[in-house]
Amino acid sequence: MFDYTFQWGQAMARLPRMLDGAVVTMQIAVLSMALGIALAILLTVLRLSGSRPLMAVATTWVEIARNTPALFQIYMAHFGVASFGLYLSPFASILVGITFNNAGYLTENFRGALKAIPDTQSRAGRSLGMSQIQAFRYIVMPQMLRISFLPMTNQMVWAILMTSLGVTVGMNSDLYGVTQDLNALTFRTFELFAIAAVIFYVITKTITLGGRLIASRLFRY
């Protein structure tokens, strides 16, 4: 029964290419997080705007991001958007898809964080002559981002894991894509994907532990 011979050497020889893929994976994740945070701040402002149509935009975004599969969102970015004559490259599709997902989940995290900041904070800012936007920008938002820091590292882990879905829209330069291409050449499926799994594990653990370390060092108040 156990006559399968593992050939780790053959797979390990491909490690440099896989590490190149890991760099692309991290690039996608970092970019999608940076864009996702910026969009989530914008969506949060829309939610607080008091304007019904703007609040509806934010709510729709958040609920679609949270209640449909990430893979569906990536398909929409690739195949769905193409229906409007807008063709996104595999890289752009995966970036747009993950960013959309990040922004939705992060907005929900920000909503929770805002609950922990008393109204009197914004009021104190206003009493010093700040406009509503200034009070949000300088007083509420920094506190919101700090409270959300650990949830943001969780979302970063999700972003890393989601990059593996890029293969469904033709992405082949990220870690999963590279691994799949190598698999088609060598058929060392188990070995190659096991190595990819270890690389993913190291990346996500580094983010989780690094995030905790930064949080305990940085936020002294």
């Binding site: 009197t120 009021r123 800012g125 009493s127 010093l128 002559g129 700040m130 200034q134 506190q143 108040y221």
Partner: protein, 240 residues
């Protein structure tokens, strides 16, 4: 000059200010006393434009606070307010707490704002806490920082809303000392307080609020020594 004319204010069905008239001249210290729910704190937030009013008008140096054309943000730089809760900005150091508004609202440079902040913080006795975060400060220190933060805007008027009510008893004294110092320097102030002997000590006039009405106003010796209104008498006999 702060001129309050027939101001009415309701929260839903509850009318908390039922036509208040009060004029505060420059350099004057007016203390407002009264039971809880008498509307005294609400009046302060209305003066600062943090709450809209339902009738009457409030004018500060000729600018009507609740007029549509009034730039409230600009007006608020002239009228400082300190609240019962200290409202320290927890993510900023003491220095940053005080310099934030001068820099972002008044557009001051960092060096200028820090010079002013340092002066105000020394004034309230926090010169050694500049790079400390508020969570490391006592309640009394946080409240003094809040006072310095308001003073750094160089306001013409200061409003104090029960600023010692949330403090442990042993910390009340240091904050009252700071207020007294400001009064002696000639700052125009309206204070809402429960500290009766302090009110008697620093005020030019004392107003007694009862159920949304200013029942009585007068010099401290008169109001505390020979109150005319029966509700004032009842209130003072209870708090003594």
């Amino acid at each position: 000059m702060i001129d309050i004319q027939n101001v009415r204010k309701s929260f839903g069905d509850l009318e908390v200010l039922k036509g208040i008239d009060l004029t505060v001249e420059r350099g004057e210290v007016v203390t407002v006393i009264g039971g809880s729910g008498s509307g005294k704190s609400t009046l302060l937030t209305c003066i600062n434009g943090l709450e809209p009013i339902n009738g009457g008008k409030i004018t500060i140096d000729g600018t009507e606070v609740h007029a549509r054309s009034t730039d409230l943000n600009k007006l608020r730089t002239k009228v400082g307010i300190v609240f019962q809760q200290f409202n320290a900005f927890p993510h900023l150091t003491v220095m940053e707490n005080v310099t934030l508004a001068p820099r972002k609202v008044l557009g001051m440079g960092r060096a200028e704002a820090e010079a002013i902040a340092e002066k105000q913080l020394r004034h309230v006795g926090l010169a050694d806490k500049l790079s400390t975060y508020p969570s490391r400060l006592s309640g009394g220190q946080q409240q003094r920082m809040a006072i310095a933060r308001a003073l750094a805007m160089s306001p013409g008027y200061m409003l104090f809303d029960e600023v010692t009510s949330a403090l442990d008893p042993q910390l009340v004294g240091e904050v009252l000392e700071t207020l007294k110092m400001l009064a002696e320097e000639g700052m125009t102030m309206i204070l809402v307080t429960h500290e009766m002997s302090f009110a008697r000590d620093v005020s030019d006039r004392v107003a007694f609020f009862h159920k949304g009405v200013m029942a009585e106003i007068g010099a401290p010796d008169q109001l505390f020594g020979a109150p005319r209104h029966p509700e004032t008498q009842a209130f003072l006999s209870k708090v003594r």
